[in-house]
């Protein structure tokens, strides 16, 4: 008897093989040079045309790139590992700064109805702004593309964490707060021993949403500011008309995004409690 999990895995593999097979078969093979007519040579179409590459080519590319991910051969030729490293550095810095601000502020908002009401209009107006809309202002004020990219990540990571923390903290069961009160726990101990663990699942959910958004936004931000990073890499390979590399980097963006998400998924299951 196979378990549901292993059957699902088998089906996933089958779907993958099927889709890749269709893709592979639907792309006409490049004609060999001797088969070209004189006319075709004259018309210049003999140079290999940019087209969607078949999966086999991409798999070879993945192998090549991942077997040497950290090479550095000039400003426009860096290994994928280095590019992802730059992107991760920006995402984690912006996200970290946002967490340092959003979680304590969310605590305050969640504990105090006055703060909640007075800050709510600001949050409601700032939150729907596309983080990239901040980019020109950031570039002007910060005068540094690196700092601007981090700022954009910071500003897009802040809202889910802030709102979820405030929501989680304000929703802590009154019974638990009463337990803290009857045991004279004091503000800090109450926050650390009761409110934080009670609200942790909601807070971590906010962090998980934030890191997901940050990873979405960094690709676009790096396309704008250029220089380094996975977003810049995609754009650069597009300019080189190297679609194999474009597809490869898209794949890598997905893999890294999934990894970031699952890290927070693990954290989430750690802090979740059953009532």
């Amino acid at each position: 008897m196979t378990t549901l999990k292993s059957r699902a895995l088998m089906l996933s593999v089958a779907i993958l093989v099927f889709l890749l097979g269709i893709w592979e078969l639907s792309i006409p093979a490049q004609k060999a040079a001797e088969e070209l007519t004189e006319y075709e040579i004259l018309m210049g179409s003999a140079t290999p045309k940019a087209g969607v590459p078949p999966p086999s080519e991409i798999i070879i590319k993945v192998y090549e790139e991942l077997s040497n991910p950290f090479y550095e051969a000039g400003p426009n030729d860096k290994g994928i590992g280095i590019q992802i490293g730059y992107s991760l550095y920006r995402v984690l810095t912006g996200f970290g700064l946002a967490a340092i601000l959003a979680i304590p502020l969310g605590f305050v908002i969640g504990m105090s109805p006055l703060m909640y009401r007075s800050l709510d209009p600001f949050i409601q107006i700032l939150r729907p702004i596309s983080p990239l809309a901040w980019m020109p202002l950031a570039l002007f004020v910060i005068q540094d593309s690196e700092g601007s990219a981090i700022f954009v990540i910071f500003i897009c990571s802040i809202w889910p964490m802030l709102i979820n923390t405030a929501f989680g903290v304000s929703g802590v069961r009154k019974d638990w707060v009463n337990v803290a009160k009857t045991h004279e726990l004091g503000v800090w101990k109450t926050a650390y021993l009761v409110i934080l663990p009670a609200a942790a699942p909601t807070i971590v959910t906010g962090m998980r949403i934030s890191i997901g958004i940050a990873w979405l936004v960094i690709v676009a931000a790096e396309m704008l500011v250029g220089g380094t990073g996975i977003g810049y890499y995609v754009w650069n390979e597009w300019n080189n008309l190297d679609l194999t590399s474009v597809i490869f980097s898209i794949l890598m963006i997905g893999v890294v995004g999934m990894t970031l998400d699952s890290v927070f998924g693990i954290l989430q299951s750690r802090v979740t409690y059953q009532e």
């Binding site: 019974d175 009463n178 009160k181 009857t182 045991h183 021993l193 942790a200 409690y273 059953q274 009532e275």
Partner: protein, 293 residues
């Protein structure tokens, strides 16, 4: 007259309500409890027992009136008043043991971790939670086990006043009996004062010095304070043979089944007064005299 350990004066609790604008749970309630007394309160569901207990604990503020304990007005909760909540109120992310140790830590901040753990385990043992059960989270415990953790937590902080809201409600008869006896032992050993809510008439008689009878709400009143003049130590087996036992029991049941409805509506007197003291021993003496005639 010396001051009582705990005295409640003119206690009134109103809540805003949609239909009539205001719900008066009780009004002008007066009550005195002496140091070391074991007082139970009983009455129908929703009459306001938990509301009184929350005010005594300092968790809720009454609309009017004051609670004075040892000469000082109660404002806000304190470790001197330990509460066993009706719904246990354990912290679900902590093990049973941690649920007790955090309380012990805040009572005795100067103790070492080992001392705290030993103290907590002593009380968990007392309520029959050991052999690894203490390391489980509340969600992995039965209702009765959770209730016992909650009891152990309150015992372990050794408050001057124990406030118990139906502390034995979820326990089977055997466990209930054991923990009741432990409670009596602790109470006898420490001189604590106990205020307990219960729906169980036999439990109330077995444990209490005095039983307060609360009439139905709204405008609930503590109508009577029935003295339980049965000598201690009491034993579960022989208490039922005491001549007074059935008189008291009948009196309580009769109150709960019929007389508790009679007091509804706002009280006519504006100033509150203490609940009517009832001594059934006097009754039975009169009864015996009547029978002798």
């Amino acid at each position: 007259m010396t001051q009582s350990f705990l005295s409640v004066e003119g206690l009134t609790q109103r809540y805003p309500s949609s239909e009539s604008g205001e719900l008066t749970v009780f009004e002008n309630l007066d009550l005195k409890i002496e140091k070391g007394e074991f007082v139970s309160i009983t009455g129908h569901s929703g009459c306001g027992k938990s509301t009184i207990l929350n005010v005594l604990a300092g968790l809720d503020e009454a609309s009017e009136g004051v609670v004075i304990m040892e000469g000082r007005e109660v404002s806000g909760p304190s470790l001197d008043r330990g509460v066993v909540f009706q719904n246990y109120s354990l912290l679900p992310w902590l093990s049973a043991l941690r649920n007790v140790t955090f309380a012990v830590e805040s009572r005795h901040p100067e103790w070492s971790a080992d001392q705290v753990k030993e103290h907590a385990n002593y009380y968990l043992n007392l309520v029959g939670l050991n052999d690894g059960v203490e390391y489980r989270k509340p969600s992995q415990l039965s209702g009765g086990m959770r209730q016992r953790v909650s009891i152990a937590r309150a015992f372990a902080t050794e408050p001057k006043l124990l406030l118990l809201d139906e502390p034995f409600g979820a326990l089977d008869a055997l466990t209930r009996g054991t923990i009741q006896d432990e409670l009596l032992k602790i109470w006898a050993g420490t001189g604590q004062t106990i205020f307990m809510i219960t729906h169980d008439v036999d439990e109330a008689i077995y444990l209490s010095d005095r039983i307060l009878l609360m009439s139905n709400g709204p405008y609930a009143r503590i109508a009577e304070s029935v003295e339980i003049e049965i000598d201690r130590p009491r034993s579960r087996g022989s208490i039922v043979e005491d001549a007074l036992y059935y008189d008291i029991r009948n009196h309580l049941v009769q109150f709960l089944t019929s007389r508790s409805k009679e007091f509804s509506g706002p009280s006519s007197e504006s100033d509150g007064h203490l609940p009517k003291m009832v001594r059934l021993s006097e009754n039975s003496i009169i009864k015996k005299k009547l029978m002798a005639l």
